[in-house]
Subunit: 306 residues, 2 copies
């Protein structure tokens, strides 16, 4: 019997100006254990750290794994255990970590027939269960590490982007409930061509900054014209958190995925810590419980622990 133990990282989708196309990988996350079984199919043995369904058709890891074994058709099965650290509904890719973990682990136990880039498609099928649409902007950085761009969904085309080494992320998670589906429902179907152009300029600037380690350009580009203005009203103290980050020297900040977490990017770990202290001070003065994380960009993504 073979068992694989995986680190399944948290991720941030959108990254301000990269709505639905950009994502980045963090260095904290869940642990998933997958064991080969003689019985075909997938079962979820145990989930600790979160109250999530064990029924494989109701669980993102199960759905993603099923999509992959339909492709690979192995003559054995898989038993999955998950120790969740990433809180569901936090906006930092909790479901993506489980979907990515399931497909990565199954692929590994099958002898790596597919590349991590090819696995993105199958992990997306798990994401569809969580958010109503098979999006790739969390599962791609979870599987590939660093920053990733979803160039296209039809056909699926994932582009890995570089990650400047001094870039650190502060993640403030206000523990309020904000479902991805609800966060999407506030979006406007149409936007002005002018705003789309502004967004394109910033996205281009951010990507250029990632290639050239130009932290100033990265900071100047971290503006979201399209989504943050409407979605941020769902996040309490959003403007105050942004201001705290800016005053602490962060390069920029925005909504992590569909929220409610708020992320800030900083050059250097010390600024990321200072940003964490300032953001914490905002919510400490309220009755909203929160968690705060500091992380470099994780260049490796998902990995085998043992």
């Amino acid at each position: 019997m073979e068992t694989i133990k995986l680190f399944c990282p948290a991720t941030i989708a959108n990254v301000s100006c990269g709505f639905d196309v950009l994502g980045l990988c963090l260095d904290f996350g869940d642990v998933m254990t997958i064991t080969k079984t003689s019985q075909k199919g997938i079962s979820i043995k145990e989930i600790t750290g979160a109250d999530l369904p064990l029924d494989i058709k109701q669980n993102v890891a199960g759905v993603a794994g099923l999509a992959l074994i339909e492709r690979l058709n192995p003559d054995f099965g898989f038993e999955i255990s998950i120790d969740k650290s990433i809180r569901a509904g936090s906006g930092i890719g909790s479901s993506a970590a489980s979907a990515a973990g399931a497909v990565f682990g199954i692929n590994a136990l099958c002898g790596y027939p597919l590349s991590n880039k090819e696995l993105v498609y199958y992990a997306m099928q798990g994401e569809a269960l969580a958010s109503g649409a098979p999006h790739a902007d969390n599962v791609a950085p979870a599987l590939l590490g660093g920053f990733t761009l979803v160039r296209s969904y039809d056909p699926l085309d994932i582009v890995p982007l570089p990650s400047p080494s001094e870039l650190f992320v502060t993640v403030m998670h206000p523990q309020i409930e904000l479902k991805t589906k609800d966060a999407r429902s506030v979006l406007k179907e149409n936007i002005s061509l002018k705003k789309a152009t502004i967004q394109c300029g910033n996205l281009g600037g951010l990507i250029s900054g990632l290639y050239t380690n130009d932290y100033g350009l990265i900071g100047r580009s971290l503006h979201d014209e399209l989504v943050e203005p409407v979605r941020s009203i769902l996040i309490p103290y959003f403007n105050e958190l942004k201001l705290a980050a800016a005053n602490s020297g962060a390069l920029g900040s925005g909504i992590a995925g569909s929220g409610p977490s708020v992320f800030a990017l900083s050059q250097g770990q010390e600024t990321a810590h200072e940003t964490a202290r300032s953001m914490s001070a905002i919510l400490e003065a309220t009755d909203i419980p929160f968690e705060i994380h500091i992380s470099p960009i994780n260049p490796d993504g998902i990995k085998i622990i043992s």
Copy 2:
């Protein structure tokens, strides 16, 4: 008396997925001669190759130059002669070449108080005369060379991008009249968020491809969701020209600026020539006169000939 003679290159704005933010520089263009005069102000002595006004307030070179001397306030003046090769209204930056030339030459004769990047703002003032809005996506590549990104207009933030050395441009100019103002009037004020997201994915892919010399990615990214579908109806045989480029092995094609010229990008000079032959064959079968150009990406932009 000092005289400077300049090569003022043609440029292509938009570049498919980069509407209003991207531009690239070509290796053909106009020649401009600027002479220091004891009398302050600007005069335009002669324009050959095109029927354009000598009145400095009606001429893009004059308007751009005036904007710059208002800033620099030199105690001498400038006499400008222009030998136009870039046809007005062709979509490949004829007005931008003149605006860029005027500000570059005046700045040079003043001892280079400003950088080329700083000159973009003043050249834009000339562009405003030509197209009704002070856009930078032609004057930036004319002044800086290569590919450029307009990250933002407020504040103005121009980002130079790399130019893969095997990238060649084919420019088909069907000699029909299509004014920039008219080409802008067909644009829709609002677009769907979904299309904006697709555009962002492609723009990100193109920029990543420029940094990594990934010609395949550049080709896959050359799609314009926002403008080409509505603007291309103003260009006769547009779909046929695109198809001819694709069948000749070009990476992709689109409208040069606001048209009517159609550009194609190819990997390698031979493919660019083959693309030129195929595109020419389309218009040779019609009564539309045309000019066709083949050019590498010009990495230097505007330069001093003597």
